[in-house]
Amino acid sequence: MKAILTTAIGGFLVLGLAGAANAATPQMEKCFGVAKAGMNDCSSNKSSHSCAGQATKNSDSNDFVALPKGTCNKIANGSLVADAMMKKAM
C-alpha cells in the first residue's frame, strides 16, 4: 500500500507542479451581492412580470393545460406518459 501511495503521490506532485493544473484555479475576488449570470437584478423583474400587466385576478387561475413543453420532449424514453401511451398504441 505504501508503495502504491508513494508512486501515485510522486507522479501527482511532478505532474501537478509541472502542469497548469493548479494555475487553472485563479483566486478571484467575489464581490458582495454577486449575481449569477443572467441574474442581474434590476432588469429581471421587467422580463417576467410587469406590475400593471399582471395586476388582475385572472392571472391567479391556471386555466391552461399543464403540460411541460420544453426540452424534456427531446429526451428519449424521458416521459412515463409517453411510454404508457406507446404501450397502449401497440
Binding site: 501511495l5 501515485a8 501537478g16 478571484m28 441574474m39 392571472s59 429526451i75 412515463l80
Partner: protein, 256 residues
C-alpha cells in the same frame, strides 16, 4: 404594539396566501383601488420569487418550458413562502415539491435534476477555499503518506437517471442527445474560480472520494477502493480532482 404585529401578520397573509386585507389598510395611490394595489404588491412578491427560482433552476426551466415553469413556480410559491431575506436561499424544497407535484409525475427524473441544481446553487455561493498546496505536500515524507487526510470542496450525487448528461446537455451550446434508459449517474459538483461544474464520476472514483469526504486517511480510502475496484488509478484521480478544484488542502492524522 400587538395590534401592529397583528396587522403586519394579516398583511403578510394577504400577500402570501391571498386572504383579505385589514379594513385599516389603505392606499395612497389615487389611481388604484386597494384591491388593485394589493394585487400589484402580491404579484411583485411572486414575481421576485419566480425570478429567484428561474436563477436557481435554469435546467428545469429548459426541460419543462416557460409556461409550465411559471405554473410550477406559482404552485411552489403558494406552498413554500420565502423565509429568508436572501433570495438566493429560496427554492431549497423544489425537489420535494416536484416529487409530489401531480403535473410533473410524467418526468420522474425532475426531482433529481432539482437536487443537482440546488447543489450547484450552494456550490456557487460557497466560501472560497484555498488552492491545494502541492509544494507543502512535497515536504511530507513518504512513510507519512498513508496518514494524509485530504480536504475537499465538492458534492457527490448519485441518481438512477443520467443526471450528469441531462445537466451538461442544457449548458449553452450543448446538444440534447439523452436516452433516459441509459442508466444511472454519479455527478460530481465542484467549482473552479466562480464557475460551477458538473462532471461524471466513475464508481471507483466515487468510492474513493466519498471515503475521503468523510475524512478517511489516504491509506484507508485507497486500500478500500482498490479492494472493490482493482483498476482504480490514484494518481489520475488526484490530478483530475486537482484540476477541478476539488482538492483544497490536507493534514496528517495524528498517529499514536
Amino acid at each position: 404594539m400587538t395590534e401592529y404585529t397583528d396587522e403586519l401578520n394579516r398583511f403578510m397573509r394577504a400577500i402570501v396566501q391571498g386572504t383579505d386585507v385589514s379594513p385599516q389598510i389603505d392606499t395612497i395611490y389615487q389611481n388604484y383601488s386597494l384591491d388593485i394595489a394589493i394585487e400589484i404588491y402580491r404579484n411583485n412578491y411572486r414575481g421576485n420569487l419566480h425570478d429567484a427560482l428561474t436563477g436557481a433552476y435554469p435546467v428545469i426551466l429548459q426541460l419543462v418550458g416557460d409556461e409550465f415553469f411559471r405554473y410550477l413556480t406559482r404552485s411552489y410559491i403558494g406552498q413554500y413562502p420565502s423565509v429568508s431575506a436572501n433570495l438566493y436561499h429560496y427554492g431549497e424544497q423544489m425537489s420535494v415539491f416536484l416529487q409530489e407535484f401531480p403535473p410533473a409525475q410524467a418526468l420522474p427524473y425532475l426531482p433529481d435534476v432539482a437536487v443537482l441544481e440546488w447543489t450547484c446553487q450552494i456550490a456557487y455561493f460557497a466560501t472560497d477555499e484555498p488552492n491545494f498546496a502541492l509544494d507543502k505536500l512535497a515536504l511530507i515524507p513518504a512513510e507519512q503518506h498513508p496518514n494524509l487526510i485530504l480536504h475537499t470542496a465538492c458534492h457527490v450525487l448519485r441518481s438512477n437517471y443520467p443526471l450528469t448528461a441531462i445537466w451538461q446537455a442544457h449548458q449553452p451550446g450543448a446538444d440534447i442527445q439523452i436516452n433516459l434508459a441509459s442508466g444511472g449517474s454519479i455527478a460530481l459538483v465542484s467549482r473552479l474560480a466562480n464557475i460551477v461544474q458538473v462532471s461524471e464520476l466513475s464508481e471507483a472514483d466515487a468510492c474513493w472520494l466519498q471515503r475521503i469526504q468523510v475524512r478517511d486517511t489516504l491509506g484507508l480510502a485507497t486500500e478500500a477502493t482498490l479492494a472493490l475496484h482493482p483498476d482504480f488509478n490514484l494518481q489520475a484521480t488526484l490530478l483530475a480532482l486537482l484540476k477541478q478544484g476539488v482538492l483544497t488542502g490536507f493534514h496528517l492524522e495524528s498517529t499514536s
